[in-house]
C-alpha cells in the first residue's frame, strides 16, 4: 500500500485546521505539515458562518467581562481556565487575521467594527458585513498558500486513525478521485473536522458535517465530552434549515409571535432578542406549543421582524440575510418579517482536549467545533466559535509541532501496516462488495428523523431511552447496508456509507450521555428534571467507546474565579 510521511497530519481544512497548519509552520518552518480534507478547503463549513467573531479590542471592554459572559452563557459548565485563556488570546488572533487581509467592516475611526450579540454585555463581535465565516476561511486559506511546507490532500477521506502501542502514527485515507486507500503517516495528528449536525433532520449544517473526526478519536479511545449539549439556533428558515444570523437580532431585529408580540419579554426580559440561544429556542417552542406560532407547509414558526431597521442598515450590515430571505422564502426583509424556527446548529460537546488541544492520546490533538475543551460548556454564545477555531487551532498547531519535533518518523512496518491493510479489507472487500441490503440513504434518513424526535430541544427519560434503542437498531441495519455505486473513481456513495458509519457511532453518545444527566443545564433541557443540579452534575460527561453502547464517566469542571450562580437574563 502506498504511504506518505509528514511531520504533522491535520484532518479537516476549515478555520481550525488551516489555522493549526499555519501556527505549526510559523513555529518551525522546517516542519512538513499536511492538511487532509474530504472537500477543497474553501468548501469547509466555516464558510457559512455569518454574524461575527468575538474578541476584546476596545477600551470599554475587558477580559473579565468576556469571560464572565461566556461562563454564564455556558450555564457554568465551561472550564474557567480554558475560558480565561481563550479571552486573553482572542484579540491577538483577531488582529492577526486582520493583518492577513480579512476585510472586516470598519468604524469611522478606521478600526474594526463590532456589533452586539446574544449573551454579550457589550459590543465585541467583530464583523465583515454578515459573511464573517466566508471571509475568515478564504483569508486563512489564501494565506496558507504562501507556505510551501503546507501540503494539501484535497478530496481525500480519512477512514481511520492508526494507533500503535498507545500512540497515534497517522491515518488511512481514500483518495476520492481514484478510490485508492493510502496511509498517511505523521508524528502528530490534529483533528479539525467540525461537528456532526447531519445526524439531525433539521440543521443549519452543510452535508459534510458528519462527525468524522469525533468518530475517529472516539474509536481510538478518546472520550467524547458533553455530547448531550447540542445547540439549537433560534432562527433557521423552515424547510431548508438555512441559517439566519444572530446578527439580524444584534442589529435590532425582533422576534414576534402570531399576536405580533415580542414574546421574549416573558422569558428573557433583561436581554430580549439578545438572550442566549438555548433560552430563545425553548421560548420559541413554548410559544408554538401554546398555539401562538404560525403554521406553514413545513411546520410551525415565528417571525423575525427586520422591517423597522430600514433598507440601508439591511443593505450595509445584513446583505447576505437579504439575499437568503429573497431567494429561499421570497421575502424582502425590509418589508416583511422572515419566518424562522429553531434547529440544530452546533455541538458544544466533542473530542475531549485540554487547553493545548491535546486529547490525552499521545500524538493526537483536536481543535475547533470537533473538540470540547470545554470552552462552551452547556451552551455556546454566538460569535465565540470562530474565535475558538483560531485560538485553539493555533494552540493545537503549536502543541502538535512541539511534540512532532521530539519524535522520530513512525515507520510503515507492523503493526501499522497490518492495521492499514485491515482497513482496506473492511472497506473494499466487505462494505463495498455487499450485493444485497438496505440503501444507505434510507438508514440515514431514519437516523435523522429519530434523533430529531427523541433527542431534541425537550427531552425526558423515555424519549432518551427510546433514542438509545433506536441508534442500536440503526447500527445493526447499517451492517446490512449496501453501496450501489461499485466504482473506485469518485465514489460518493461509499463515502456516504463511511460517513453514516461515523455518524451512528457519534449519535449513540448523545442519548446515552443525556439520559444519565438528570438535570437541565444550558441546551440540555429535561421535562422530568427541569432544574440545574450543581451538587450532582457540575461535571462533564465522558462517553468512552465500548464496542457497543458507550460507557459514561464523569470529569470535574474547573472553576477559577466565578462561582456558579442562578442563570437569569
Amino acid at each position: 500500500m502506498e504511504h506518505h510521511n509528514h511531520d504533522i497530519v491535520i484532518v479537516g481544512g476549515g478555520a481550525a485546521g488551516i489555522r493549526a497548519a499555519i501556527a505549526a509552520v510559523e513555529l518551525e518552518p522546517k516542519l512538513d505539515v499536511a492538511i487532509v480534507s474530504k472537500v477543497y478547503p474553501m468548501r469547509s463549513h466555516t464558510v457559512s458562518a455569518e454574524g461575527g467573531m468575538a474578541a476584546v479590542l476596545r477600551d470599554y471592554d475587558s477580559f473579565d467581562s468576556h469571560a464572565y459572559d461566556t461562563i454564564k452563557g455556558s450555564d457554568f459548565l465551561a472550564d474557567q481556565d480554558a475560558v480565561e485563556f481563550f479571552v486573553k488570546e482572542a484579540p491577538r488572533e483577531a488582529i492577526q487575521l486582520e493583518h492577513w487581509g480579512c476585510p472586516f467592516s470598519r468604524d469611522p475611526d478606521r478600526r474594526i467594527s463590532s456589533r452586539a450579540f446574544g449573551g454579550m454585555t457589550v459590543k465585541r463581535t467583530l464583523f465583515a458585513t454578515d459573511k464573517i465565516g466566508f471571509h475568515l476561511l478564504h483569508t486563512l486559506f489564501q494565506t496558507s498558500l504562501k507556505y510551501e511546507n503546507i501540503r494539501r490532500y484535497d478530496e481525500w477521506f480519512v477512514t481511520s486513525l492508526l494507533v500503535d502501542n498507545g500512540r497515534v502514527d497517522g491515518v488511512t485515507a481514500i483518495e476520492i478521485r481514484t478510490g485508492e486507500l493510502v496511509t498517511i503517516l505523521g508524528k502528530a495528528v490534529i483533528i479539525a473536522t467540525g461537528g456532526c449536525g447531519r445526524i439531525f433532520q433539521f440543521t443549519t449544517n452543510g452535508w459534510i458535517k458528519t462527525g468524522d473526526g469525533m468518530a475517529l478519536a472516539y474509536r481510538a479511545g478518546v472520550p467524547l465530552k458533553d455530547m448531550e449539549m447540542v445547540q439549537y439556533h433560534p432562527t433557521l428558515l423552515p424547510n431548508t434549515g438555512i441559517l439566519i444570523t444572530e446578527a439580524a437580532r444584534g442589529e435590532g431585529g425582533h422576534l414576534l409571535n402570531r399576536d405580533g408580540e415580542r414574546f421574549l419579554k416573558r422569558y428573557v426580559p433583561g436581554k430580549m432578542e439578545l438572550g442566549p440561544r438555548d433560552i430563545l429556542s425553548r421560548a420559541e417552542m413554548s410559544e408554538i406549543s401554546a398555539g401562538r406560532g404560525f403554521d406553514g407547509p413545513y411546520g410551525s414558526y415565528v417571525h423575525l421582524d427586520l422591517t423597522h431597521l430600514g433598507e440601508e442598515v439591511i443593505e450595509t450590515k445584513l446583505p447576505f440575510v437579504k439575499e437568503l430571505a429573497e431567494r429561499y422564502v421570497g421575502i424582502d426583509p425590509a418589508h416583511e418579517p422572515i419566518p424562522v424556527r429553531p434547529g440544530q446548529h452546533y455541538m458544544m460537546g466533542g473530542v475531549h482536549t485540554d487547553i493545548h488541544g491535546f486529547t490525552g492520546l499521545p500524538g493526537l490533538y483536536a481543535a475547533g467545533e470537533v473538540a470540547c475543551v470545554s470552552m462552551n460548556g452547556a451552551n455556546r454564545l454566538g460569535s465565540n466559535s470562530l474565535t475558538e477555531c483560531l485560538v485553539f487551532g493555533a494552540e493545537a498547531g503549536k502543541a502538535a509541532a512541539r511534540f512532532a519535533l521530539r519524535q522520530n518518523d513512525p515507520g510503515f512496518g507492523n503493526p501499522v501496516q497490518g492495521l492499514a491493510m485491515a482497513e482496506e479489507t473492511r472497506i473494499f472487500d466487505q462494505l463495498l462488495k455487499h450485493e444485497q441490503g438496505e440503501r444507505v440513504s434510507s438508514i440515514r434518513t431514519d437516523m435523522q428523523v429519530a434523533m430529531e424526535k427523541h433527542v431534541g430541544i425537550y427531552r425526558d427519560e423515555n424519549t432518551l431511552k427510546e433514542s438509545c434503542r433506536e441508534v442500536g437498531e440503526l447500527k445493526q441495519r447499517l451492517k446490512n447496508g449496501i453501496v450501489e455505486d461499485k466504482d473506485h473513481v469518485y465514489n460518493t456513495e461509499l463515502v456516504a456509507a463511511l460517513e453514516l458509519d461515523f455518524m451512528l457511532d457519534v449519535a449513540e453518545t448523545i442519548p446515552y450521555s443525556a439520559v444519565q444527566r438528570q438535570e437541565s443545564r444550558g441546551a440540555h433541557y429535561r421535562t422530568d428534571f427541569t432544574k440545574r443540579d450543581d451538587t450532582r452534575f457540575l461535571k462533564h460527561s465522558m462517553a468512552y467507546w465500548n464496542r457497543g453502547p458507550p460507557r459514561i464517566e464523569y470529569s470535574p469542571v474547573t472553576i477559577t474565579r466565578w462561582k456558579p450562580e442562578e442563570r437569569v437574563y
Partner: protein, 246 residues
C-alpha cells in the same frame, strides 16, 4: 403528483469511455432547487449519481453545473426558473470531467496560487500594535472582488478560457485585483508581472459572460479591465520614468 424530468450527464470511466444522458423523474414542488432534485435521485432512484455539494445556501461554491446550457449553482437554481418540465444538467464546460457532474479543478487551483493571494508587505507590525487602519472607502475599493466563492462558473462561461487553457481567467484576476487594491497590501510589483503577462489580462476581449453568470456579483470582467488600465498606466510610467516611480 407533479413531476419533472431531470436529464443528467453520466460519465463512468470504469464502465465506458463516453458520456451519455440518463433521465429521471422527480417530484416537482415550487420551492425545489436543482440540487434537491439531484439529492432525490441519489437517495431514492440511483445511488451512483455523482456530484459535488455541501452548504446548499450558495456560499461554499461546490455545486456548479451547467443547467439548460447555463453555468449555475444547483443549490440556488429553482426548477421553476427553467422552461418546461425537462431540465438538462451537465458538468461545467471547459473542465475535464472526472465522473458524472464532477469536474477536475486542478487548473483553477493552480491559478489561485499563481496570483499570490495573500497580503504582501515590506514590514509587518506585530498584532499587539493593533489592526492596520482602513477606512470604509478603502474597503469599498476591493470589497466586491473579495466575495468570490471559487465556484468556477465564470471559467465555464468564458469562451477565451474555452479556447485557451493558459488564460489566467476571471476569478484568478479578480482575486489578484482584490489584493492589489487592498490598502494594506504592498505587493503590486510582485503581482503586476503575473497579471500583465500575455496570458494574463490581455487575452480578455470583453465578452463579459463571466460577470453575467457570477452568482455573487463579483463582476470579474470589471476587475480584468481595471487591471488592464493599471497595466497600461504602469507601462507608460516605466517608459517615461525608467529609473523613477517605483
Amino acid at each position: 403528483m407533479d413531476t419533472a424530468t431531470i436529464r443528467v450527464t453520466r460519465y463512468r470511466p470504469e464502465k465506458g469511455p463516453e458520456p451519455f444522458f440518463q433521465e429521471y423523474k422527480v417530484p416537482y414542488r415550487n420551492d425545489m432547487v436543482v440540487l434537491d432534485a439531484l439529492n432525490y435521485i441519489k437517495a431514492n432512484l440511483d445511488g451512483t449519481l455523482t456530484y459535488r455539494w455541501s452548504c446548499r445556501m450558495g456560499v461554499c461554491g461546490s455545486c456548479g453545473a451547467s443547467v439548460d446550457g447555463t453555468p449555475k449553482l444547483t443549490c440556488a437554481s429553482f426548477l421553476h426558473e427553467f422552461k418546461g418540465r425537462t431540465i438538462t444538467v451537465e458538468p461545467l464546460p471547459n473542465f475535464p470531467i472526472i465522473k458524472d457532474l464532477v469536474v477536475n479543478m486542478e487548473d483553477f487551483m493552480q491559478k489561485l496560487v499563481k496570483v499570490k493571494p495573500w497580503i504582501i508587505r515590506e514590514k509587518e507590525t506585530p498584532p499587539e500594535q493593533g489592526e492596520y487602519k482602513q477606512s470604509a472607502e478603502e474597503l469599498e475599493r476591493y470589497q466586491q472582488f473579495s466575495s468570490c466563492i471559487n465556484c468556477m462558473l465564470c471559467y465555464s462561461a468564458c469562451p477565451i478560457y474555452g479556447l485557451n487553457e493558459k488564460f489566467l481567467g476571471p476569478a484568478a484576476t479578480a482575486l489578484a485585483y482584490r489584493y492589489i487594491e487592498d490598502s494594506r497590501d504592498q505587493g503590486k510589483n510582485v503581482r503586476f508581472p503575473i497579471v500583465h503577462e500575455m496570458e494574463g489580462v490581455w487575452e480578455c476581449t470583453l465578452v463579459g459572460e463571466c460577470s453575467v453568470v457570477c452568482p455573487k456579483g463579483v463582476d470579474p470582467m470589471l476587475a480584468i479591465q481595471k487591471t488592464k488600465i493599471l497595466g497600461a498606466t504602469n507601462a507608460i510610467r516605466s517608459i517615461l520614468m525608467p529609473r523613477g516611480g517605483r
